[in-house]
Symmetry: C2
Subunit: 241 residues, 2 copies
DNA sequence: TATGTAAGTGTTCAATATACACTTTATAGC
DNA sequence: GCTATAAAGTGTATATTGAACACTTACATA
């Protein structure tokens, strides 16, 4: 291939992956301790450098796989971070990707053997470079996404209960929702199909399992929809002086 | 500065600018004929290469200024395009930015002397590489943006009339809105301040000028809001066979 | 001064969102 | 096996918001 652009600067391009999972009623983030200098040993997102023979998506998937063993994760672009001194090692621009995944036992082990850890988004430690800023942006994007697209398919197991789904929404948006209104709204979208089976163990009564209707889910994910509810009024707390 | 990342590939990073303006009741896009190989002479977005000593935003502004003379334009990141063969010249990843601007006489001349042209978004020619795809994405982003953020500040002159504002919304979303409902909704946001002055010339009666309340505008731009209206029912068209 | 053209204005009805509390179910402990 | 407990499940009345719809006003120009 002829080279037309000889005279222009070339740049290191990093790919950083922000992976959210939902576990134990909490929204979690996958982090690891950086294995090379600079900032070796500090908490970091999964990151690596783009190669010349791979597209951005391929690169991001490769980086994630190398660092955690996770494969077949669909990630979306979040933002490009390109301040001059964001990486003290060398001028690097970083393309941040994010994904939502359901964490199964297998993934959990894979991640662990690679030294990755799931951390609650409420307890994110200090990360290297501008990675905290990236996580911030990803969280804000994720929150606004819940209002415009269905969510859950990527974060919950195939069968899940309505209380689980509600607690997912509550964990992402950090707010309490009214049970009746939540059910009514989510059911009337037609996204969910009720199964004839109950979850046992989590409660005495047991909650019915549901599944997503895949076609409807994809349709809404494509076209967008609207899902916003007022936060449940918290019971008044009397402040005594 | 110590170099830690010697062994990694480096890449050409392009910055492409998608500039929307509103003029004569139409949403327009700024294009120019590419001045260098490959694809010299074909229609293109304003693009150039990132330099090592500038941030992404700085680079995008520089490119836009060099190619059109426009300055002080605030652009937002749209997306990164990084398919392997998107640029036949050489492997290049491109960060696309977009902006909305109000086109004044001065800008118009500046752009013209630089060989740039304002083209209606309804008549976009074939562009080089993946630039049509970039414009597509920018348009979709712009449309969804009208539902979540106030718009107009960047596209209209300081003083504008309600019919102008409505026609901006209609041009962006390519739909007709009901005059009374539009006015009611936009006025009750508190975003607008009515002036004691009428626009003359555009109509016999003349429409009152309004300005944006800058604080409210910034507040809503930051927090987001909701502005969505059903499209006006088009009068029935009888199809005779 | 008559005519034409776009600006401006309110109300009714329908749909949707919110607030709110008791009943049901099954387990586990006695 | 009876009882206590803890979470799941369910419906309605009211308030709010959104949509549909047509005539009057102001001014310029002929």
């Amino acid at each position: 291939m002829a080279k037309f652009y000889k005279e222009y600067d070339k740049h290191l391009v990093a790919l950083d992956c922000i992976i959210f999972g939902f576990d134990e009623g909490e929204l979690k983030l996958l982090l690891l301790k950086r294995k090379f200098e600079p900032a070796k040993g500090e908490w970091s997102l999964m990151g690596g450098f783009l190669k010349s023979d791979e597209s951005l998506d391929e690169g991001a998937r490769r980086v994630l796989h190398q660092l955690t063993g996770l494969s077949d994760i669909y990630m979306e672009q979040l933002h490009v971070f390109g301040e001059l001194n964001r990486d003290p090692g060398e001028r690097t621009i970083s393309i941040a990707f994010y994904a939502l995944i359901k964490v199964d036992e297998n993934d959990r082990k894979l991640a662990e053997t690679h030294g990755a850890h799931w951390v609650s988004v409420n307890q994110i430690p200090q990360l290297i470079f501008d990675h905290n800023q990236m996580v911030d942006k990803a969280l804000r994007t994720l929150r606004s996404r819940t209002e415009r697209k269905p969510i859950g398919f990527e974060l919950l197991p195939e069968k899940f209960t309505l209380p689980q789904l509600q607690s997912l929404y509550e964990a992402i948006n950090q707010e309490q929702l009214d049970k009746r209104n939540f059910r009514k709204r989510i059911l009337e979208t037609g996204l969910l199909e009720k199964l004839d089976e109950k979850e046992k163990g989590a409660s005495k009564k047991g909650a019915y399992y549901y599944m997503f209707n895949k076609e409807k889910y994809l349709m809404y994910a494509e076209m967008g929809f609207h899902f916003q509810m007022k936060v449940k009024k918290s019971p008044l707390i009397k402040i005594t002086t």
